[in-house]
């Protein structure tokens, strides 16, 4: 084998080794999610929970013709939606240091509204959707907000 061929095959071996290590490394040493990724997950999970609670409320309120419940749920949905969009904006601007502190507090406000939604449902004997617990657990990993 000529020197040129030896160099060439060595280069290919290095490329193959790099690809193999990338693939194996992904499985062996998974990256710990950073704070921004957790915040994104918490915001999306809370949004899905608010939607699920709103739908559950609409179904129950329509079936029982409970206008008071529907209006209360609509009020808490609006407040939770505004808080979540504020949280989403803060997460989108994550690199600006001052927005980071506001994420946990804006999310806590959304969760407080979600809590009201679930209490309205629970007061009428309806079990809130289980996705709400997932959202609470994920949001708790952000450390919460001292003001809410």
């Amino acid at each position: 084998m000529s020197l040129r061929s030896a160099v060439l095959f060595s280069a290919i071996a290095v490329v193959v080794a790099f690809v193999a290590m990338s693939i194996l490394g992904c499985g062996l040493f998974p990256k710990v999610p950073d704070e921004r990724a957790i915040a994104r997950g918490a915001v999306l999970a809370t949004a899905e929970a608010v939607k699920a609670a709103d739908v559950a409320c609409a179904q129950y309120g329509t079936a029982t013709e409970d206008l008071e419940l529907l209006q209360s749920c609509a009020h808490h949905y609006d407040a939770a939606r505004i808080a979540l969009i504020a949280t989403g904006s803060a997460v989108d601007l994550w690199d600006r240091a001052e927005t980071r502190g506001s994420v946990a507090c804006a999310l806590a406000r959304a969760l407080a509204e979600l809590e009201q939604l679930t209490q309205d449902l629970a007061a009428r004997g309806t079990r809130p959707p289980s996705i709400i617990e997932d959202a609470r657990a994920l949001a708790a990993t952000l450390g919460g907000c001292p003001d809410v």
């Binding site: 040129r4 061929s5 060439l8 095959f9 280069a11 290919i12 490329v15 790099f18 690809v19 990338s22 693939i23 992904c26 998974p30 990256k31 921004r36 990724a37 994104r40 915001v43 999306l44 949004a47 899905e48 608010v50 939607k51 709103d54 739908v55 409320c57 609409a58 179904q59 309120g61 329509t62 013709e65 206008l67 419940l69 529907l70 209006q71 749920c73 609509a74 949905y77 609006d78 939770a80 939606r81 979540l84 969009i85 989403g88 904006s89 997460v91 989108d92």
Partner: protein, 67 residues
């Protein structure tokens, strides 16, 4: 007169060229698979999709009021 290139060497060169060409894309794809491709997608438009301005309870309340 130069001697003809061996077939194995020609194939090896071709493979190396392709590998160098595709390596950045492969790295990016692997990174997306592992760390999630959605990291740079803005959250606000997604939230507006999940939570429209008028929720289900508000629509239901409006429908009930009309009856």
């Amino acid at each position: 007169m130069s001697e003809p290139k061996p077939v194995a060497e020609t194939i090896a060169f071709w493979l190396l060229e392709r590998a160098v060409e595709w390596l950045p894309l492969l790295g990016e794809t692997l990174a997306d698979l592992v760390h999630g491709a959605s990291d740079d997608v803005p959250l606000v438009p997604r939230l507006r999709e999940i939570l429209p301005v008028e929720g289900a309870a508000a629509r239901a309340a409006r429908a009930l009021e009309r009856r």
